[in-house]
C-alpha cells in the first residue's frame, strides 16, 4: 500500500480541500475536507455524523470549542478516514451539533498522523502517511 498521495491544488482554489471517505459503524460517507493547519482539532459536521450512523446521545466525551464555534456543542467521536489509496487512519473528531460547519482536518489528530506538503508552485498537495 502506498504511503504518499498527491491531490491537485490549483491557483483558483482559495482553500486546500481533499476528497476523503469516512467510515463508522458499517456506514461510509464520501465528502471533501478542508486541510486546516490553524485548527486545533478535527471537526465533523452534525449531519455527516448522523449519515455515518453515530448516535449523539451515546457520545459521552464533551468538547468545549472556541471562537464562533464556542456556542456549538461538540462531542468526541472516532472515525476511520480513507484518503485515496493510503492505509485508512483512525481520527478523533469534535463532532459538532451544527451542520453548517465545514468538515475540518486539524492538528489533533490529522496533522499528528500525516505529513502534508502544500505546493502552490507545483499545483499539488502531497500527503504522506508515516
Amino acid at each position: 500500500m502506498p504511503s504518499t498521495i498527491e491531490f491537485p491544488f490549483s491557483d483558483y482554489e482559495a482553500l486546500p480541500t481533499i476528497p476523503i471517505t469516512l467510515s463508522y459503524a458499517g456506514f461510509s460517507v464520501s465528502t471533501n475536507a478542508l486541510l486546516d493547519t490553524g485548527s486545533t482539532v478535527n471537526l465533523l459536521p452534525y449531519d455527516i455524523g448522523l449519515q455515518l450512523g453515530a448516535t449523539w446521545e451515546e457520545q459521552t466525551v464533551r468538547l468545549p470549542l472556541a471562537g464562533n464555534l464556542a456556542r456549538v456543542e461538540a462531542r468526541g467521536l472516532f472515525v476511520h478516514v480513507q484518503i485515496g489509496n493510503l492505509e485508512p487512519v483512525r481520527l478523533a473528531f469534535a463532532w459538532a451539533k451544527a451542520s453548517q460547519v465545514p468538515l475540518i482536518l486539524g492538528q489533533t489528530n490529522f496533522f499528528r498522523e500525516l505529513d502534508v506538503c502544500f505546493q502552490r508552485s507545483r499545483h499539488t498537495i502531497e500527503i504522506n502517511r508515516f
Partner: protein
C-alpha cells in the same frame, strides 16, 4: 469602455476568470481602501484555532483508547 459595458462581459466570465479578475482588481486598490470595503461585513471563521481545551480532551480520549487497545 464604460463600467456599464464592462459588467455584462464580466458576468459572462467563468468562476475561475472572475477570481483572477478579482485578484487583479484587488492588487490595484490601496490596502487602506480595501480594509474599508471589507470591514463593513462580518465573515464567519469556523476554524477552531484556539480550542486548546477541546484538543487536550481529544488527546486524552486517544490515549485512553490506545491503552484499552493495548490491554485488550
Amino acid at each position: 469602455m464604460s463600467l456599464a459595458e464592462l459588467i455584462p462581459l464580466v458576468n459572462n466570465l467563468n468562476q475561475s476568470d472572475k477570481l483572477s479578475l478579482f485578484k487583479f482588481l484587488a492588487a490595484q486598490i490601496p490596502d487602506a481602501e480595501l480594509q474599508v470595503i471589507f470591514s463593513a461585513s462580518e465573515y464567519p471563521v469556523w476554524s477552531p484555532y484556539d480550542a486548546t481545551e477541546a484538543e487536550n480532551i481529544l488527546m486524552q480520549m486517544i490515549r485512553d483508547n490506545q491503552e484499552e487497545s493495548t490491554h485488550a
